[in-house]
Amino acid sequence: MIATNRPHAMTAAQTHYCPGCTHGIIHRLVGEAIDALGIEGRTIGIAPVGCAVLAYNYFNLDMTVAAHGRAPAVATGLKRANPETIVFTYQGDGDLASIGMAEAVHAAARGENITIIFVNNAVYGMTGGQMAPTSLPGQVTQTSPYGRNEAQCGLPVKVCEMLAQLDAPEYIARVAANSVKNVLAAKRAIEKAFRNQVEGRGFSLVEVLSTCPTNWGKTPKDALKWMESDMIPYYPLGVYKDRSAVVTDRT
């Protein structure tokens, strides 16, 4: 039997996300991970600026909202002040990979014992569909109306590949929220990213490829197809760094 109960770590509030957006699924996976680890009473969430700015309405947790991109710095302050709490940020691609790149990279480089859920939907959602650092080559957005042009805009930032080059992070993985199989893999990755923090292992980031039918100009169904056909080939899924796995291999 498939359990359909709402995770205890989540509220009954109906989300404000657009039809077909996978933020709701990702929220649920976070809630399930918190439930599974029994850490609801000591977990603190940090919402970003972007579509998930109101995430605090959907979790039964102490939460705050960071300035645009600064969530990893706020998380650092919270975690250093109260190391027994479990601190996570939930950030979009504009928030983390553009304006907050420095904060994300340096939190990773310090090996902060925090968890980052990085939602990559290749577009700025909240402000109405502008080009993101993760928008695909040729992708049409409000600010790349002729398609993202390499000569002018360069090429997308691959966050997992970049952060995996650092020595300090514990766990860096990319998953997708577009199919049952991928969602189940995402669930495992997100739970691991939280468990790592509970065990004091250090910085864990899970990039979740997410749909934005509204700003992609697609139906929810076509958005899922586009993720499979265009996004995942550009952003390969998998584990980019896992220090605990390396240790296991050596023993």
């Binding site: 600064r70 302050g77 919270l78 250093r80 990279v105 340096h106």
Partner: protein, 354 residues
């Protein structure tokens, strides 16, 4: 009894923070305040605290936001260009009603400016220093002793009013050495039921945010914040009056220029000129009432500052322009000499005579 020691202003400030119970420091190096970070890098581990050198001033102020949200006494320090970077965080701290201590050991600007002392961030500090309607409590030390005492007071005020207290010092006060007595204060401990500590399954969740999408709700938030600001203005304004009993010429100066002005007032008195000094210790709230009272008998005001009349505006507002206010300033990192200020006093006295 605490012993008296010889210390740099920046170091006295840092030790005072530790004595006031601050255990969290986040900062980024910048001259002329690096001694604060260097001191706390050594000191914090000794008292079980956290010193963290952030990747930028922006990150540092948001780390302050996080530690403050956790309910802790926390501080950051910087100098002028770094404070501009922190202005984003100052606005978010204010919008979320989070207490913090922020230190600005001012250097000359604008831009990269120079590394010599300045008071050119007066407007930025006293008007909030970021977007939106908000204020910081701005404390202006004029000695190494005050670097310590105002830091301790700043932490208490920040907690009590849930706002940022800013120490607005300058390169001279930060760098110079003077005897200082470091008494362990009795911090005013304030309950922080709003802090993010995890619900422990025992209470409703706490949300700390500056986001209010409903205009009426946001207006209410702003108004309640300004009601708190009014209480600060009423209760916490502080200044020093020097030779003001019969003063006809009133100098207004804070920080290092107040030290210079005191010498100039003494020299003027020796020449029979009835000069006095009002030294704001809090720049926000500004000692408006003291100046208004002084304006009843004082004939002229001199605003002695290392900026181009930024404080002069507040003097004119305080006295409703009922008396002339003259700017006496050096800028760019130059400190006015007592002789220069004396010349300005004598000029004012001559105007009175004619």
């Amino acid at each position: 009894m605490a012993e008296t020691v010889l210390m740099k202003g920046n170091e006295a400030l840092a030790e005072a923070a530790v004595l006031a119970g601050c255990r969290y420091y986040f900062g980024y190096p910048i001259t002329p305040q690096t001694e604060i970070g260097a001191y706390l890098a050594r000191r914090m581990p000794q008292v079980g605290g956290v010193f963290l050198q952030a990747e930028s001033e922006i990150a540092a102020i948001h780390m302050v936001y996080g530690a403050s949200a956790a309910g802790k006494r926390v501080m950051t320090s910087s100098s002028s260009p770094g404070i501009s970077l922190k202005s984003e965080g100052l606005s978010y701290l204010a919008g979320s009603d989070l207490p913090a201590l922020v230190v600005n050991v001012q250097r000359a600007g604008p831009g990269l400016g120079g590394i010599q002392p300045s008071q050119a961030d007066y407007m930025q500090a006293t008007r909030g220093g970021g977007h939106g309607d908000f204020r910081n409590i701005v404390l202006a030390p004029a000695s190494v002793q005050e670097m310590a005492s105002l830091t301790m007071r700043g932490f208490d005020l920040a907690d009590q009013y849930r706002m940022t207290a800013m120490i607005l010092a300058d390169g001279t006060i930060g760098q110079m050495m003077e005897p200082v007595t470091l008494e362990t204060p009795t911090p005013t401990l304030v309950e922080k039921p709003w802090a993010l500590t995890g619900t422990q399954g025992k209470r409703e969740k706490n949300i700390i945010t500056s986001l209010y999408l409903s205009p009426t709700e946001l207006e209410k938030k702003n108004l309640s914040r300004f009601a708190r600001y009014a209480a600060v203005q009423q209760k916490e304004t502080e200044y020093e009056a020097f030779c003001m009993d019969d003063a006809q010429i009133c100098l207004v100066a804070y920080g290092i220029t107040a030290r210079v002005s005191k010498n100039a007032v003494a020299a003027a008195r020796a020449k029979g000129i009835r000069a006095g000094l009002i030294r704001p210790i809090t720049l926000w709230p500004f000692p408006t009432e003291a100046l208004r009272q002084a304006a009843k008998t004082v004939r002229q005001f001199l605003s002695v500052e290392m900026s181009m009349g930024q404080m002069m505006t507040d003097i004119e507002l305080a006295i409703r322009c009922t008396r002339p206010v003259t700017l006496v300033s050096r800028v760019g990192g130059v400190i006015p000499a007592p002789e220069e200020v004396l010349v300005a006093i004598e000029r004012a006295a001559n105007e009175e005579a004619t």
